[in-house]
């Protein structure tokens, strides 16, 4: 880490703004401004250098609750990782009234959960208003990608969201390939398609297991987790990593051929097992009754949320990039299939879409093996010049977007829009729509969004 030259000690947004203007005038790139528990900081990258350093921007008495007795009463909301800096710029809406109280939940939550704070405003059992406070997991992923070279950065992209590494790596690779005009051999595209569908399978099975567990349907949860473990073990055997990391390369790399018979028998087994679980779930009233009407989103999108993935598909935004852009080898595989579309913008609809998508993924995997063998066409290595490229991939949770700027062997800038960041704004809306606190885990599980994808 090189010598941090502190910009200025400031405590107000105004002073901060002028300090940042100065840094920009010097030609430094401001990657991010954020606050820690103690002070405000900026992540700054000097042009031509790989290290990021972080001058402190100022410190103030950031009081945390429960340490200060009476003061804690007033400081209840000050604990938010980044909120009070944002709050001065964007006023936070609050609900007040007789009998209403605020129930902060998180960042440490029960069971295995990611760090995020929900500020629930409740009246008795009814949830009236929800505010999400991210920022606890802010890891500067984009800065981490920029620090690496073009080829190694794909490994960082795989670690943005641990449960969808293939989608991230593919979107990143697609963006770089577009920027540098690299064409990818068909064999590599087929491998990517296969990996992406296996990942969708794994992700959906895990999500549905959490959903089943949240309604107390533990038998189905156990079955679904066992199925997920089956997929993970197949991944390990066929591609050398349970979460399919370290396979994708910019330009295609050396694709691995899965044994046809192994894949087909695996698909058949998952299909058979899943059909049984699905049939049992569809007949379990205690499961269905909790889902119907829970976390209902307004139809017609009056809030302009532009939802994606299974959340969108169940609330009237049926778009799927596998059909819309037919990237990879999806064009041949999805001709006579249609994107799943369900008309139920509640937890039940989100369950149904994923259950159908699991079936669809299995079909695509089967067809992938049936494709005629392709002439081994070597990919064309593009010039290492400079350029900007876009990568758009349908991740398990929805539309994933990468914009990558490349110069020589370096990534100069990257922007990521994850499906989770698109869908998270819908969670408060769905939670505060005539639900009670007991529905909270179910609604939360029905969205199954990743916090890692929100707090990049």
């Amino acid at each position: 880490m090189n010598d941090p030259s502190p910009i200025a000690a400031v405590s107000k947004p105004d002073a901060l703004r002028s300090a940042i203007t100065d840094a920009r005038a010097r030609g430094d790139a401001i990657l991010d401004i954020y606050r820690t528990d103690r002070d405000l900081r900026a992540a700054i990258l000097k042009p031509g250098e790989r290290t990021v350093y972080e001058p402190k921007l100022g410190s103030g008495p950031f009081i945390r609750p429960s340490h200060y007795g009476v003061l804690g009463f007033f400081a209840l909301e000050v604990d938010d990782a980044r909120a009070d800096w944002w709050a001065s710029e964007y006023p936070v809406d609050r609900v007040s009234g007789r009998g209403i109280h605020v129930m902060p939940l998180g960042p440490v939550r029960a069971d295995v959960a990611e760090s995020l704070r929900y500020v629930l405003t409740v009246f008795g059992d009814d949830i009236h208003h929800v505010r999400l406070v991210p920022g606890y997991k802010h890891r500067h992923v984009e800065a981490a990608i920029v620090r690496q070279g073009v080829r190694r950065a794909i490994r960082v992209a795989e670690r943005v969201t641990g449960t969808s590494p293939v989608a991230h790596a593919w979107a990143y690779a697609m963006a770089v390939e577009e920027a540098l005009h690299i064409s990818v051999p068909v064999a590599a595209l087929r491998e990517r398609t296969c990996l992406a569908e296996l990942e969708r399978l794994m992700s959906h099975l895990g999500d549905l297991a959490v959903l089943a567990a949240s309604t107390g349907t533990v038998t189905a949860a156990a079955d679904l987790l066992t199925l997920k473990e089956m997929v993970l073990r197949f991944n390990q055997a066929a591609f050398g990593h349970r979460y399919l990391r370290d396979r994708l390369e910019v330009g295609g790399g050396s694709p691995r051929q899965v044994e046809k018979q192994a894949l087909l028998s695996f698909v058949a087994e998952v299909e058979r097992e899943f059909r049984q679980v699905r049939r049992a779930l569809d007949r379990t009233n205690s499961f269905l009754d909790r889902l119907h009407g829970a976390g209902k989103l307004p139809t017609g999108d009056p809030l302009g949320l532009r939802l994606t993935g299974f959340v969108g598909k169940s609330s009237g935004h049926a778009s799927d990039l596998r059909w819309d852009r037919t990237y990879g080898t999806y064009g041949d595989l999805t001709q006579d299939l249609n994107p799943v579309h369900v008309d139920a913008p509640d937890a039940f609809g989100r369950y149904l879409v994923r259950a159908e998508e699991i079936r669809q993924s299995l079909t695509i995997l089967k067809r992938l093996e049936g494709l005629p063998p392709e002439e081994p066409v070597p990919g064309r290595e593009g010039r290492f010049g400079s350029g900007v490229g876009f990568g758009l991939v349908e991740a398990p949770r929805g539309r994933l977007f990468y914009r990558v700027a490349v110069r020589g062997m370096d990534v100069t800038a990257v922007r990521i829009a994850t499906p989770s960041s698109l869908n998270w704004p819908a969670v408060p809306v769905a939670l505060a729509a005539h639900n009670i606190l007991q529905d909270f885990p179910i609604i939360d599980a029905s969205f199954s969004l990743s916090v890692a994808g929100l707090d990049l």
């Binding site: 954020y34 981490a144 066992t226």
Partner: protein, 181 residues
């Protein structure tokens, strides 16, 4: 009268609810009076998980520990909804500065004896691609005493289970050095 109590509680809001965290030294001074054992952790172990900035790959593996395939409850393990009941703290992810106070608070709220295990390369002091980034601590050992680190990205449920068993069975002296597994 109501308002007197109300005011009293308002002013004297305790930081944490009082709870006998440590064994009573007076009771410990009388050998034979209480049942003792060399094993610090018995047949049931309550586990608490905190995410210190993970990519959620580690969480995905932790969730599988309860599945019939690994079924950690046959060893007496189980997640607890409160740190007050926890014997063991699992921390995942590169440790972000925003999470440091929350990890510490969770650790402080756990009764003695207690253990901390870092899950994944990130928490175990090998943050890899995230090393040296702003706001990243990168090693759980700098925040709370760590009994064991489980390498891997993410470590498989098998590895996690093996290390947890090793940690729980190990004598306290070896555990304290953080040299496990």
């Amino acid at each position: 009268m109501f308002y007197r109590r109300w005011l009293y509680h308002f002013i004297r809001r305790p930081a944490v609810s009082p709870y006998p965290f440590r064994p009573d030294p007076a009771a410990l001074a009388r050998p034979g009076q209480i049942v003792t054992t060399t094993r610090q952790f018995g047949r049931s172990l309550a586990v608490r998980h905190v995410d210190g900035g993970s990519s959620n790959g580690c969480e995905s593996e932790l969730a599988l520990l309860g599945s019939p395939v690994y079924d950690w409850s046959r060893f007496g393990f189980g997640f607890t909804p409160s740190p007050r009941h926890a014997d063991l703290l699992l921390v995942t992810g590169i440790i972000t500065e925003a999470m440091v106070p929350h990890i510490r608070e969770t650790y402080d709220a756990m009764p003695e004896p207690k253990l901390v295990v870092a899950v994944g390369g990130c928490a175990g002091g090998e943050p890899g691609y995230f090393a040296g980034l702003p706001g990243v601590v990168g090693d759980l050992g700098e925040v709370v005493p760590v009994a064991a680190r489980i390498p891997g990205c993410p470590p498989s449920p098998n590895d996690i289970l093996a290390v947890l068993l090793a940690v729980v069975e190990a004598p306290a002296a070896r555990r304290a050095g953080g040299r496990l597994p």
